[in-house]
Amino acid sequence: MASITRASVSMPSLSASVNQSQRRISGMNSVSFPVSGRSMIPSLRLQRGLQVCCAAKQETVDKVVAIVKKQLALPADAAVTGESKFAALGADSLDTVEIVMGLEEEFDITVEEESAQSITTVQEAADMIEKLVEK
């Protein structure tokens, strides 16, 4: 048996860190929203007053988290934050579309396919929602 020096290689004890790595790895699962172009999301966030940070309101993020947890049947205490990637949480393409549909209903918005494609994390979803809600 090869001696495995890296603890991370031994499967049963593997556990992903709570804060997902931001590194863009080619998505190799069956989620249909392609990886390409994600790094080129334009920052169209509005700057309001003295607000420097462009992030969506916490309330929006919380609602997105709730919808994601429900769709993916995650326990209420599962650690899901703005940085959490849908795919890493186990969302396949059907889940992602359902999440988007849930967001449309919750926030009374319509998300076009092009935009839906660029949402891969909770934060991105929240930011997009706020942009659409502002309209």
Partner: protein
């Protein structure tokens, strides 16, 4: 009989047994390979699989939340690497030495080594996985898209509400006409996998072919009709819908290569194998593990 496959690193104190080499599919053939994650229980074996991956793929696998997701992500990478390696392109190919790239639209492709005298084969592949099944389809030349799903997958949203939002009117009508909710759910899943397979075969990304811009008609045979040319049932693509192990639907979409006389479509020639890489391979086409439920398919 077959060349001894032994490209594993000397770092393994116990080398993995050879992968069963396989002939490349002919122009008319489709190979389907799949792994059932629940049947792969050995932690040492999973560690070996992990060692086949380059660091960035290992990191990607480890980025998934929880053992089950990591396992199916690992098996997906393992399956695609070991499957392509079996075809012994360029004499022998270590699954670890394969490089992948994405086309302009983001679809994964093999990045073959460029060297003198080596002409890369027009090998096409596509993978799909759920937590309970990992599958890889391979062809020579034909663009391919595959999608797998559990038969009993349930949507959180109401099916018709979902279909009205994302599918075409014809498809909504088709689903609406099914009185039994179980059957309706299954039809929805079939339609979903077929639509996914088509978009993946096109390889241009989800947004280039939103689901409500094309209809999958599955009454006699399966065909796709795009909204912008409704008169013209798009003949470029052919489909197969399979029921695997009684538990999963597998949709395959292929670029049509040839037709029989008078433009008649030739059936898809399918070879299906269940595998646990380096452990066992089982030819399952033609058995009741693989049942054709849509499209014209001959299994062999």
């Amino acid at each position: 009989m077959n060349p001894h496959y032994c490209c594993l690193s000397r770092n393994f104190s116990a080398a993995l047994p050879p992968l069963l080499p396989v002939q490349l599919p002919s122009r008319m053939e489709t190979h389907l390979w799949y792994v059932v994650p629940d049947e792969v229980k050995s932690a040492p074996l999973l560690s070996k699989y992990m060692e086949l991956l380059p660091q960035y793929e290992r990191d990607h696998v480890l980025g998934f939340r929880g053992d089950q997701l990591q396992k199916s992500a690992l098996l997906a990478r393992t399956l695609v690497r070991t499957t392509i390696a079996r075809y012994q392109v360029d004499d022998h190919l270590d699954p670890r030495s394969l490089r992948f790239k994405r086309n302009i639209h983001g679809k994964p492709e093999v990045e073959w080594e460029t060297k003198d005298g080596f002409c890369p084969p027009p090998l096409q592949f596509n993978i799909s996985h759920t937590s309970s099944l990992v599958a890889c389809g391979v062809t020579m030349n034909s663009l391919i898209g595959i999608d797998v799903e559990e038969k009993r997958r349930r949507t959180k949203n109401n099916i018709l509400a979902f279909a009205k939002r994302y599918f075409t009117a014809h498809e909504v009508e088709h689903l609406n006409a099914i009185p039994d909710s179980e059957l309706q759910q299954q039809e929805f899943i079939k339609l979903w996998t077929l639509k996914e397979a088509y978009v993946k075969a096109l390889g241009k990304g989800f947004s280039s072919s939103p689901f409500n811009t094309f209809t999958i008609r599955a009454s006699s045979g399966i065909a796709v009709e795009t909204l912008d040319s409704p008169q013209n049932l798009t003949n470029n693509w052919q489909f197969a819908l399979l029921e695997l192990m009684g538990s999963h639907y597998v949709a395959i979409c292929l670029e049509r290569q040839e037709t029989g006389g008078a433009g008649k479509a030739l059936p898809i020639k399918l070879t299906a194998r269940k595998t646990i890489p380096f452990v066992e391979d089982e030819l399952v086409s033609g058995t009741n593990a693989v049942v054709t439920i849509g499209g014209s398919v001959t299994q062999f």
